[in-house]
């Protein structure tokens, strides 16, 4: 899967931000009480981010073929959520790295849109 429009780039950037912020929040909780369950409200929000992640990453980069979203009834714990978020963060980074290129004219790393360098600047691959 490759980035086709500027909108795709924005979606990916938003996803990266959301995954990182959720991860930092939940991993704090996981350090305090790893077995504690995540409440329904937080789970709904996490699922929204994961849903966006599934759409952006597609089957090629999706971390687990048989996992898409958390089920409310499965009572995922803080540490469960942290593990999944880490996987999504890694895969998102893989996807980003594969879709960026160094632009000598801009002296910066930029996203590749439709196979050619775009004006959207980004960080170098990790």
């Amino acid at each position: 899967m490759s980035l086709e429009t500027g909108e795709d780039v924005e979606k990916l950037e938003k996803l990266i931000r959301q995954l990182h912020s959720l991860h930092s929040e939940i991993s704090l909780l996981a350090k305090k009480s790893p077995n504690d369950a995540v409440n329904a409200f937080k789970l709904k929000l996490i699922n929204k981010v994961l849903q966006a992640g599934n759409e952006v990453l597609g089957d090629g980069y999706k971390p687990f073929a048989d996992f898409s979203l958390f089920e409310l009834d499965d009572l995922p714990s803080n540490s469960d959520v942290t593990v999944v978020l880490t996987q999504y963060i890694q895969e998102t980074e893989g996807y980003r790295s594969d879709n960026i290129v160094y632009s000598p004219s801009e002296h910066a790393w930029v996203f590749q849109v439709n196979g050619s360098p775009s004006k959207f600047e980004t960080n170098p691959p990790k």
Partner: protein
């Protein structure tokens, strides 16, 4: 207990202890409660102006064997619902009365009240509006979180098996913990000890309140007007343990049962529970130490209800069913 409530005696120096000893003895004679000769520490002797131990007859706690004192119910009613201490502690706007770091004193609050009668007026109206809150639920009180954690650590430290009465201690701790964890969805818990073919069986039975969608589903699908739980403090659940619970799952009691045990079921026993669903549409789920730990965890953090852990186990079970 018509005229008094039971209170544990403490070593604290209660000046009224000697009165309470007489009162307790008198009430116990009237009510027919057995008295035992005990020594009560630190009773105030007005003649000698000293606290001395006294030998007397009092009822004792059946487990700890410590003496008990009855306290007249009217004493407990003495504190008015609307009172100054309550206002001072909970209601008065402390930030308006003193500056940060200053001590809040009764006098300062009184001075403030003179100029701000509206605050008192509001306090009284607020207390009158919520007077129904001071009614107790006479049937049941939840155990506090700290006790739930303590019970959990008791359970985790117990060895599996019957050695040194570990099975009884396990059943007792679960019997105390679960009603609190599952309240208010499951209520009117009954811990029953009865003998069946020489083996003492202890069940925990809850009335199904149907207050939760899951519980309503249990009534619809399994006819569970009550939820039967079977406690087994064993290293490994055997075939007969499942058969035993299966025998309770009748049309009358409902066909849904919970096996509370220490460790997850082995594959053959788990298959046996699945077969019960396949053959007779009976569901048996297992709650282990790890699940109880999670129940206590969510009971403490209030992120989810402990009943959700039971639901999770049921969902896992049903996914394994054909």
């Amino acid at each position: 207990m018509s005229s008094g409530s039971l209170h544990n005696t403490r070593d604290g120096t209660i000046l009224m202890k000697s009165f309470l000893i007489d009162y307790t003895a008198q009430e116990c004679c009237q009510l027919g409660i057995a008295l035992t000769a005990v020594e009560v520490a630190k009773v105030y002797e007005p003649g000698k102006k000293k606290f001395l131990p006294v030998r007397t007859e009092l009822p004792v706690h059946p487990e700890t064997k410590k003496p008990l004192l009855l306290v007249p119910k009217r004493w407990l009613r003495h504190t008015p619902y609307i009172n100054y201490d309550d206002y001072f502690r909970e209601y008065c706007p402390q930030d308006d009365i003193v500056h940060e770091g200053e001590e809040l004193t009764y006098v300062k609050v009184l001075t403030y009240n003179r100029d701000n009668y509206g605050v008192i007026d509001f306090y009284v109206r607020e207390k009158e509006r919520t007077f129904e809150d001071c009614k107790n639920d006479p049937l049941f009180t939840q155990i506090p979180i700290i006790s739930a954690r303590r019970k959990l650590s008791v359970i985790k430290k117990l060895p599996a098996g019957k050695e040194n009465g570990a099975d009884k201690a396990y059943e007792k701790a679960i019997g105390e913990l679960f009603p609190s964890l599952l309240y208010p969805y499951l209520d009117f818990a009954q811990v029953q000890a009865r003998t069946d073919s020489g083996v003492s069986i202890r069940d925990l039975i809850f009335y199904n309140s149907r207050k939760h969608d899951f519980l309503a589903e249990l009534l619809k699908d399994y006819g569970s007007r009550q939820i039967t739980m079977e406690m087994k403090n064993v290293q490994k659940i055997e075939r007969e343990h499942i058969d035993q619970l299966n025998r309770y799952l009748t049309d009358d009691l409902g066909k849904f049962g919970i096996l509370i045990t220490r460790y997850p079921l082995k594959k053959t026993e788990f298959t046996r529970t699945i077969d019960l669903w396949s053959g007779q549409r009976k569901a048996v789920i297992t709650v282990t130490d790890a699940d109880i730990e999670q129940m206590v965890e969510v009971f403490d953090s209030k992120q989810r209800h402990p009943l959700d852990v039971i639901i999770k186990k049921y969902v896992e079970y049903r996914r394994a069913c054909p």
